[in-house]
């Protein structure tokens, strides 16, 4: 039925999870209402469960070999492609960020600009990181010895609660640029830009499972990711309660996860290397020299 003034009735989007390159609803059947900062209903989001988190880890593990095995040049191109496709959806992201974060449209546009630029910045790191953090080691003997960075594996990310797109981008991009795969729990109250980012990823040649996005509660899903024995690292930046962060870090110790503790972050600042190096292993290879 057309509206009273004859304008076209919009087709609304269903926001679902992004797991293994597909967009399923939560297996739990749960959803929750997402409102803007003034309390007006925006959409229903799927509320991811423990099972969804575990499915996402399986998808991330399956994707890890292929993604970490790609050439760095190829990974860089795919990250750059994400920026390209985001650019085409600039208006959509701006509207979602404005509604989610209560920003003016111009401030929301600036946040989207910064997010796109951040993907471009990280894309360029793909084939430079090894030259910056690797080394050739002059050992005292007839051996060739060098050290190279490699991806840690699966990184669980409890994404920032406030910055729905720039924050999310700033924690996912540095993890995947080196070949890690990610299971991210988005901001609970501001999840919509995350799913739209998933739609960008699904159409940017990023293999399914490299990034898995769960909307829902980090407090509910976090403990299952922290104690998951096939997750190699965890970023706790979306957790503000110190006791909760401590418990998640303690649970992460079970398989010696690499833990990034929560800290006060200004996402508009230049990121530096630390979020990339946090999820790298260093491999040192020796071989004798002789005739």
């Amino acid at each position: 039925m057309p509206t009273k003034d004859g304008a076209r009735l919009e087709v609304r989007k269903t926001y679902k999870l992004y797991i293994g390159g597909a967009f399923p609803r939560s297996e739990s059947g749960r959803a929750y209402a997402v409102n803007n900062t003034k309390g007006k209903f925006l959409a229903n989001a799927s509320q991811a469960s423990r099972k969804d988190a575990r499915d996402a880890v399986v998808a991330a593990r399956k994707a890890f070999g292929g993604w970490s095995g790609k050439t760095a040049y190829n990974r860089g191109q795919i990250l750059y492609r994400i920026a390209e496709v985001m650019e085409g959806r600039h208006e959509q992201f701006s509207a979602e960020v404005a509604a989610s974060e209560g920003l003016s449209i111009s401030k929301a546009r600036a946040a989207v600009d910064a997010s796109i630029d951040r993907w471009v910045w990280y894309a360029g790191w793909a084939d430079k990181l090894a030259q910056i953090v690797g080394s050739s080691n002059p050992v005292a003997g007839p051996y060739f010895d060098f050290s190279l960075p490699e991806a840690t594996g699966i990184v669980a990310v409890l994404a920032p609660q406030e910055s729905s797109l720039l924050g999310l981008t700033s924690v996912i991009a540095p993890a995947i640029v080196s070949g890690n795969t990610v299971v991210a729990v988005s901001s609970f109250e501001r999840p919509l830009p995350a799913i739209t980012l998933g739609e960008v990823m699904a159409t940017s040649d990023l293999p399914g499972g490299v990034v898995n996005l769960l909307t829902g509660s980090a407090s509910e899903i976090g403990p299952w990711l922290a104690s998951h024995m096939d997750v190699n690292a965890i970023d706790l930046c979306g957790i503000s309660d110190p006791d909760e962060a401590r418990d998640l870090e303690a649970a992460s110790a079970e398989n010696l996860k690499r833990v990034r503790r929560p800290a006060v972050e200004d996402w508009s600042e230049s990121p530096g290397l630390s979020r990339m190096t946090q999820y790298l292993e260093l491999k040192t290879v020796w071989h004798p020299i002789g005739v």
Partner: protein, 478 residues
């Protein structure tokens, strides 16, 4: 095979002067412990008591941390890097000057062959201090930003397998970066750390920069949990590493952990056979197998299995087990009764689970803790001797057909510290090195160490690196 007869060639003990008892080294002086009981350190080769050592309780640890904090605030932190470097160079030289004494002391207290303490451990100790000395005035080039800062007080806990070398791996980069240190040596091997305390005195190192607190797990726990420790560094078992990772949760402490391993040593059919056999032996019998990166899982390509096993056993028959101070000795004493019990237990499990056990005929001394070099064949990936770290001279042998299968089996472990590859094919070496999830990969060699070469694990073998620029970064806040 008949064995060569050797005349014993004993290194003299006269060069070491062990005191009957030692205090704790706090704020530049040896002091009595206030709240712990003294304990004895013995020679594992003879069970002879070498000295009585103080156990540091929480109050002593607190005293040591306060001394380290004072030294950090007043002396070491503000000191020019150039001068920190000179102290570290002094220490490196003093170690070289006292190298023979330290080697004998290490072999006495630890049980390792003098050939290894003299030719491997102590030279590497001096090299580590020499290497990191040079970093002290070049920190802005270490990759931690233009103005890198030390963490403050480092609490360090080290194992008994390479007592002085692990001390060097911990203390040299910490001091170069400008931190001060409280270090706890292992309960069974405190003597070279206490000799190092004397070396700090001889170097006129300012009081409190290095503090040595002896003791067991309780002492280590008090140190790691001390609220004024900024940086924790631990080398030891994965179980203790996990407990430390839990205990620092929710704090601001920086942590590096170098934990257990179950390295695959992978032999392809085209491997250079003589070097490979030496590499297998070095991989698992070096230091009685008390090596976290030991090549304890031998993966042999099926086509050369019989030849490799035959030659390995023949080589093992010529290994000499005995007095650590005899220069002929290849395999010394197991470090402690507790460790011997653990090796025996896991070896029994190996037999009970159906693997075939083999050791060369070898006479073991009546006194002390000894275990013969041992090979298990018919081992499956599910067997405990293929999964758990034995930390002794015990090798588990598995087979594979294809490179992909070798990778699959090698990576099928929660550990990821090291791996070995034996093949003449260069492209295969690099492919394998890429696939193996381990922090150190030795190709056509094994168990090589160097201060410039980063060392450390993937997965449950811990995090952070020791050695090289990366080892320095672990002691810089960034």
């Amino acid at each position: 095979m008949s064995r060569f007869e050797y005349a014993p060639a004993l290194e003299s003990r006269a060069i070491v002067d062990i005191k009957s008892s030692y205090g704790l080294f706090i704020n530049g002086a040896f002091t009595e412990a206030t709240d712990g009981k003294p304990f004895k350190t013995i020679s594992p080769a003879s069970e002879e008591v070498l000295a009585e050592v103080s156990e540091a309780g929480p109050a002593d640890v607190d005293k040591a941390v306060r001394a380290a904090r004072r030294a950090f605030d007043k002396v070491w932190g503000p000191m020019a890097g150039r001068d920190r470097a000179k102290y570290l160079y002094r220490i490196a030289r003093l170690i070289q000057e006292r190298a023979r004494e330290l080697a004998v002391l290490e072999s006495l207290d630890n049980g390792k062959p003098i050939r290894e303490s003299r030719d491997v451990d102590i030279p590497l100790v001096a090299a580590h201090f020499f290497y990191y000395a040079g970093w002290a005035d070049k920190l802005e080039y270490a990759g931690a930003g233009d103005d890198p800062q030390p963490w403050g007080v480092a609490g360090q806990v080290i194992p008994w397998n390479f007592p002085l070398l692990m001390l060097a791996w911990k203390i040299a980069p910490a001091l170069a970066a400008g931190n001060t240190v409280v270090l706890k040596p292992a309960e069974t091997t405190p003597l070279t750390a206490l000799a190092f305390a004397e070396i700090c005195q001889q170097a006129d190192l300012p009081p409190g920069v290095v503090n040595i607190v002896t003791g067991a797990g309780r002492t280590g726990q008090a140190l790691v949990e001390h609220p004024d420790v900024n940086k924790v560094a631990f080398t030891g078992s994965t179980a203790v590493g996990r407990a430390i990772a839990k205990s620092v949760a929710g704090t601001d402490k920086a942590v590096t952990l170098e934990l257990g391993g179950k390295a695959a040593n992978i032999v392809f059919e085209d491997a250079p056979i003589d070097q490979t056999i030496e590499g297998i032996v070095n991989g698992i019998f070096f230091n009685q197998g008390h090596v976290c990166c030991a090549g304890s899982r031998l993966l042999v390509q099926e086509s050369v299995y019989d030849e490799v096993l035959g030659r390995l056993k023949r080589r093992m028959e010529s290994l000499r087990v005995g007095d650590p101070l005899d220069k002929n000795t290849d395999i010394g004493a197991i470090n402690s009764a507790a460790q011997l019990a653990k090796i025996r237990e896991l070896s029994q499990v190996g037999e009970d689970e159906g693997s075939e056990r083999w050791s060369p005929e070898c006479e073991l001394p009546a006194q002390g803790f000894w275990f013969p070099p041992t090979v298990f064949t018919g081992v499956s990936q599910a067997h405990r001797i293929a999964r758990e770290e034995i930390f002794g001279p015990v090798l588990s042998v598995l087979t594979f057909r294809t490179p992909a299968e070798a990778v699959e089996k090698a990576n099928n472990t929660p550990f990821g510290l090291s791996a070995g590859i034996w093949t003449e094919k260069g492209s295969r070496i690099l492919w394998m090195a890429n696939q193996l999830r381990a922090g150190v990969v030795w190709a056509n060699t094994f168990n090589r160490f160097d201060p410039t070469s980063p060392f450390g694990g993937y997965k449950e073998s811990g995090y952070g690196r020791e050695g090289g620029r990366h080892g320095l970064e672990a002691y810089l806040a960034h």
